[in-house]
């Protein structure tokens, strides 16, 4: 069985105002408070296009390698729904802002490229809450705050073959939109929404019947829905029951998909060019400058870190998840020049503390300078690696320097030979039995004696020096 998957993703553009009016896009609990004649579809109101939405859409399309068209056109998509005030959605149809492009994904089948069909800009509808969501007695509650939010819709070719691949695609797309500041990419808050097309076929050369799945509110839901749908369609094919071309609804609780009530009549959206908006014309020199000023993309940076800095794939992925983390990493490496150590330390100790605190790196007091300082102290044996773990929380929470933190915790490593010799003589005098055993050839006893010395030094003795000094004294 071959599964073919295509995605349609709506990404909410991170603007201050809506797509066609000056209403704020701020998240607002109070319903119907970010509204105006335009987004309420009041008679006589007209749309005006948000320049920033166009800029962000152009930016993401360029990063995705799309052909960004100098001229694109808005159209009206006509249908009646209570959360669609004008009875049409302003979108792009015949002439979208961008076509083509791709997103690389790492899969079991190796690194692959998921091709994009097109990307177009459009306005969101309002939000309807149905009887299913809350007890309303067969009523629907409508909030128009979301109505007119700026979206870019990205449509992929059917280039994915499993739920994991779709998950990977979405993860990479989300990483990119956040990386470029185009969107928060927050799927739970609806800033990224995804519809899925799944078809299963016994013949790899032929596509099966395309089934659309809606109501996917998280990456995990996308994967679960695909996994379920793959299995359901395969079962249908095995049983000889036909797979219908239909739209199915994903049930989060059950983990299943169910057919949505078939739409009355067939959809006939009667698209036609939006007469209220002349063509959108982009400046070719600005497009060119956007291309040349595009920052290194997360997946490009990730492979560079693996290739040039020798990072482990896991570390490289983690470091390039967020642009701020990657920048932090690069600044730290510039100060202490041990990329592998920095990456692994960020991936373990730093990540652990961030996790405990529920914070992102930029929300703490840790800076590339303090982290580099800490790692340099470890490298120069000024403190032990173990001791550094006690220092890190202070750097994160108080913003103090590593030197001060180490001093205040009394963690300076003792590398003074005479001090260690003093401890060593005491240990030898107090452990006659073990000393005899060592001298009798039982080398392993040295570890016990080192441990005794460390105890005496409150762990501050440099472990390497301790071993060497003990050995010399025992043999003399």
């Amino acid at each position: 069985m071959t599964t073919t998957i295509g995605l349609e993703i709506h990404v909410q553009l991170a603007t201050r105002t809506k797509m066609f009016c000056g209403c704020s896009t701020a998240f607002e609990d109070e319903p119907n408070t970010h509204v105006c004649p335009v987004c309420l579809g009041l008679p006589g109101a007209l749309p005006t296009l948000n320049a920033e939405a166009v800029r962000l859409a152009t930016r993401i399309a360029t990063a995705l390698g799309c052909t960004v068209h100098e001229v694109s056109e808005f159209s009206r998509k006509n249908y009646f729904y209570p959360d669609l005030p004008k009875s049409y959605q302003i979108t792009q149809f015949d002439r979208p802002i961008a076509t083509g492009g791709s997103v690389p994904i790492v899969t079991e089948r190796g690194t692959r490229s998921v091709r994009l069909t097109r990307a177009h800009i459009e306005e969101d509808a309002g939000k309807s809450m149905h009887a299913a969501d809350i007890t309303l007695g067969g009523e629907t509650l409508v909030d128009f705050n979301r109505c007119g939010m700026p979206l870019i819709e990205i449509v992929t070719e059917p280039d994915m073959q499993s739920g994991d691949e779709a998950y990977e695609f979405l993860h990479n797309l989300r990483r990119l939109v956040r990386w470029l500041g185009v969107s928060s990419g927050d799927m739970e808050k609806g800033a990224m929404r995804c519809d899925v097309n799944v078809s299963v076929s016994p013949d790899p050369a032929k596509r099966g019947t395309k089934v659309e799945i809606k109501n996917l509110n998280s990456f995990r839901s996308v994967k679960r829905a695909i996994d379920y749908e793959e299995q359901r369609q395969a079962q249908c094919l095995a049983d000889g029951t036909p797979v219908l071309t239909e739209t199915r609804h994903f049930d989060e609780v059950q983990g299943t998909t169910t057919a949505m009530r078939s739409k009355e009549a067939s959809n006939d959206y009667r698209y036609f060019p939006e007469p209220d908006l002349p063509l959108l014309q982009l400046d070719p020199t600005e497009l060119e400058s956007l291309r040349t000023h595009m920052p290194e993309l997360p997946w490009e940076m990730q492979s560079r870190f693996e290739r040039d800095l020798g990072l482990l794939p896991y570390d490289a992925a983690l470091i390039t998840e967020e642009r701020s983390t990657a920048e932090f990493f690069q600044q730290t490496v510039a100060l202490c020049d041990n990329p592998k150590k920095v990456a692994s330390y960020m991936g373990t100790e730093v990540a652990k503390l961030l996790n405990e605190r529920g914070k992102t790196l930029t929300e703490t007091q840790l800076t590339p300078t303090t982290l580099a300082g800490l790692l340099t102290m470890v490298e120069h044996n000024a403190i032990s690696n173990t001791a550094s773990k006690d220092v890190l929380p202070l750097l994160m929470d108080t913003g103090t320097t590593p030197m001060e933190a180490v001093r205040s915790l009394g963690l300076e490593q003792v590398s003074d030979t005479s001090a260690i010799e003093g401890f060593a003589r005491e240990v030898i005098a107090e452990n006659a039995t073990q000393v005899e055993q060592f001298r009798g050839g039982k080398e392993a006893v040295l570890g016990f004696l080192v441990g005794q010395l460390m105890k005496k030094s409150k762990c501050k003795a440099n472990p390497k020096l301790t071993g060497e000094i003990l050995r010399t004294l025992l043999k003399s």
């Binding site: 105002t17 000056g22 509204v35 948000n50 249908y79 959360d83 629907t140 909030d143 959809n267 063509l279």
Partner: protein, 98 residues
């Protein structure tokens, strides 16, 4: 000449436009529409193969600066039903696209 619009098409179009056509309205309406559409259908004889659309482009876009909108009362004071700040409508049947 073949009929342009028949009863079935009229009903389909009416349902798309959310208009109800009563049985009494249907006959005269069909007659009017047939004649009007017949008249406008004469355009099919115009050769437009060489025509290039010259729609203008937008000269300026709106800066992304928030502007004061309407209060809920100003914007939705005339809505037939409101509750807790929401507009209330009858249950929505089926699933049109969002």
């Amino acid at each position: 000449m073949a009929t342009i619009i028949d009863k079935v098409t009229l009903e389909h179009v009416a349902s798309l436009a959310r208009l109800e056509i009563t049985p009494e309205e249907e006959e005269p309406l069909l007659g009017d529409l047939e004649r009007i559409l017949g008249h406008v259908a004469q355009l099919s004889s115009v050769d437009t193969s060489a025509i290039v659309s010259k729609r203008p482009a937008m000269t300026e876009l709106r800066p992304d600066d928030p502007r004061e909108g309407l209060t809920r009362e100003e914007g939705l004071g005339g809505a037939p039903a409101m509750r807790d700040g929401f507009v209330v409508v009858r249950n929505v049947m089926g699933g049109e696209d969002e």
